[in-house]
């Protein structure tokens, strides 16, 4: 169980806590990591909200990723940085938690999550409620030892067919085994939605980079992702078909509709807005 609360856990300590209302916390990004991607910063914010929600229902339920109205990308987080996390809970009960939150690094805003909703499912189906409660007490107290996270093997995508600047398809092979499955979740391994989104954003940026209206000397960078909707759990070993459709808005900016399917079933949808960023 060495990976439990380590391989995919991004809250070291909860420093400020108003039950069912708000919380602040932190996560020390290990300096030895090659990078700490934005999707993991978003995951950290969501996990802080999940701790507040689980505590609110006495660990009967745990929220799962479902809806994120808007995520704004403000800046990168470097390995070695200490993430400051904050969440405001709009509502929380045995059915769902609604929240917004943000993460900062060196006092600069790194990411904002606005109007997210996670349905609450029976916690015991995913993890030991007793272990979760004990972990929460640790996080509320002296905190977890930093440096537990060794990085995530980001699943690669195999590029498929497309129309340059208009659409692009790819296949994502979810690993059958990975350390993060022992943490997300111990009793029910699920491929994290944030890792799927990371792969989808990567695909979208490939598409945008090939668009004829992208100004010379720039690369597309994500501005915000909206309408994120996770329709079903993704088990280990699943093969996902990803597709991205671009709607240009001028000046090298644009919106890309993202979809992931498992067979005939759509498992997630989202919309990415991007803008050109100068290449150093």
């Amino acid at each position: 169980m060495a990976d439990h609360f380590a391989a995919f856990s991004f809250v070291d300590r909860i420093t400020d806590f108003t039950p069912g209302v708000r919380a602040r916390g932190q996560f020390a990004v290990p300096a030895a990591l090659p990078a700490f991607r934005s999707c993991l910063v978003a995951e950290a914010v969501g996990q802080l909200a999940a701790w507040v929600a689980m505590a609110q229902v006495n660990f009967r339920g745990r929220p799962v990723a479902a809806l994120a109205s808007e995520t704004r990308f403000h800046g990168d987080v470097a390995p070695g940085a200490v993430l400051g996390l904050a969440v405001e809970i709009d509502s929380c009960d045995d059915e769902a938690v609604a929240y917004s939150g943000c993460a900062t690094s060196d006092d600069a805003l790194a990411i904002e999550l606005l109007d997210c909703l996670g349905p609450m499912l029976p916690a015991a189906e995913f993890d030991s409620p007793e272990a979760l409660a004990a972990r929460f007490e640790l996080l509320r107290g002296r905190g977890a030892p930093p440096g537990r996270f060794d990085g995530v093997p980001m699943p690669g995508i195999v590029r498929g067919a497309g129309v340059p600047g208009e659409s692009l398809a790819a296949v994502l092979h979810v690993p059958a085994m990975a350390p993060f499955f022992a943490d997300h979740f111990p009793r029910c391994p699920v491929f994290p939605a944030t890792l799927l989104l990371d792969a989808q954003i990567g695909l979208a940026l490939q598409l945008a980079a090939e668009a004829p209206d992208l100004p010379a000397g720039t690369q597309p960078a994500p501005v915000r992702i909206t309408h994120v909707k996770m329709r079903s759990f993704i088990p280990p070993g699943e093969v996902l078909a990803l597709d991205a459709q671009r709607a240009p808005t001028g000046g090298g900016t644009g919106q890309i509709m993202l979809r992931a399917r498992a067979g005939d079933k759509t498992v997630s949808t989202a919309r990415l807005e991007y803008a050109p960023r100068g290449v150093a």
């Binding site: 479902a66 769902a96 609604a98 109007d115 909703l117 349905p119 309408h227 909707k229 329709r231 949808t269």
Partner: protein
Amino acid sequence: MTQPEITRDEIMAVFPTIAETMADALGCDVDDIKLDVSLIEGLDAESIDFLDMVFRLERAFKIRIPRGKIVENARGTLSEAEFEQNGLVTGVGLAQLRAYLSEVPAERFKTPTKVKDIPRLFTPETFCKLVISAQRSAKAPG
């Protein structure tokens, strides 16, 4: 206390915002959102879409809609036991459901009706009623 019947004018007043909200949630054209279209069978909505629509409507209308509120509203003054037994809507429950979902054609009600299949009957008008009911509750004293 029972609420007065919801009028056609009230429904038409909230419908444009509801149609826009639903179209955004379902990723379809706003013109596809007709008052009487079945959300599941006509617009391929899934349970996550219902959650999404309710979440969006709460913000659009600045109201609170408790989960499961549609069925609670549909049940009216009936107790849970009067409305359903062993996962099936009772005879008196079905009559109540038909009255509440008056916009749904009679042939779409099946006998017996499983409680879990009630969302198959929902239309945009159902959500109009839900919003109006929540607005009235918010305005009600005490």
